[in-house]
Symmetry: C2
Subunit: 214 residues, 2 copies
DNA sequence: TTTTGTGAATTGCTTCACAGCA
DNA sequence: TGCTGTGAAGCAATTCACAAAA
């Protein structure tokens, strides 16, 4: 069962949602949860949840449901967030700074430990928000990636620079890129890209506004 | 053909990508483009593009392709971005400020014209970045929404506050919400929600890292 | 009972392949 | 010839429904 029989990407995305909900349940000292209960808050069917989890193994207990702490551990292992990953970020503009100071990353298993920007007046300076991260010049990227075993990079530069920076990141050894630029990135096989595209989100909402009619 | 025969949501999302690519082509004075050419840069098949566009009408010219300026106009009308929409934003923290100063919105047909935050030391102050937007208290939301005919709201507050703010936005008359909080928002029928979920993106990438093996 | 895990049925989306038009 | 628009075919994802387990 476990891996290899081809897992739908939507199932992986939902796994993240399950994990978050499970963490909330754990915070309330809930010991077990059924697929139906888990799905209710998330608007996902019980069958969907069981099938999603079954792609990765048998974690449930018939008649009982899923044990919350156990399932949290299993899902974290599946997603690879059972240990914290070092992350780099390129682009110390408004968005980049907002991401750096975003608290949510750390307890999700990600830590931004290096920031790059090529503009003169940024390099060498420290980010305002607490943790003393010095902004480095991109030329140092390769050595930093090796030194801290960085596999994931966040791309928060303007669109015209995005592909060039992505190439640099991949050349430096980064294997997964979270892209905020409104551009389709070309990367070699074995490198994963996930894009956050604000225009697409806004236009999708705008379309839905038109469909319902005001 | 046009509306009503049920349009796949993925098709709407791709429409945004087509539009962006078309705008780039127009900037290079390209007059026409075939579905194959349009798809090449985006990694989308020609048949997919023709089918997506056919959900909304017949815009192409056999033997020629699609006329770039014409198709741009048509797609903007479909998405509802042929005229600029007034947008409000709640949450003047790091992320909120980054979004306000983000240039990309305006020429995509969206303008943030009102910002709300309930923390004492924010209300009344002006956002640093250029355009003199005063931060308002949420109690003024309803009147501002009516006054400026706002239908779309951006939610950039911490998770625990998100549902409450969403309720307030909907009560004020907002019909579409772009949500940045890691929470499943409950809204009444007729209100559209689209969520940007960083944890989901990061965990998806983390999973893919594990699948390929380092 | 309750609830899982899973084959079977179904729904939805994408690709194929070709008639028709320029 | 080149290219669109579209029914038919194929594939992928979701839901159904039930045997097995507690």
């Amino acid at each position: 069962m476990s891996r290899s029989e081809h897992i739908p990407l939507p199932a992986v995305r939902r796994l993240s949602l399950y994990l978050r909900q499970l963490e909330q349940l754990q915070a309330r000292d809930r010991q077990t949860v059924s697929s139906r209960q888990l799905g209710e808050t998330l608007g996902i069917s019980d069958a969907q949840i069981r099938k999603d989890l079954a792609y990765f193994g048998q974690f449930g207990h018939p008649g009982i449901g899923y044990r919350v702490p156990e399932l949290i551990h299993r899902v974290r292992c599946i997603l690879g967030t059972d240990r914290t990953s070092n992350v780099l970020l390129v682009g110390a503009g408004n968005l980049g700074r907002a991401l750096i100071s975003y608290r949510g990353f750390l307890n999700k298993g990600f830590e931004i430990i290096a920031v790059f920007d090529d503009s003169r007046n940024e390099v060498g300076h420290t980010i305002d928000g607490a943790r003393h991260i010095k902004i480095q010049h991109p030329s140092e990227m390769r050595s930093t990636v090796r030194k801290h075993n960085i596999r994931l990079g966040i791309l928060a530069v303007p669109a015209p620079a995005a592909q060039g920076v992505a190439d640099r990141m991949v050349a430096a050894g980064v294997r997964a890129v979270l892209n905020f630029a409104p551009v389709r990135l070309q990367v070699k096989d074995g490198v994963a890209v996930s894009s956050v595209d604000l225009a697409v989100h806004l236009e999708q909402l705008s379309f839905q506004l038109g469909s319902v009619g005001s």
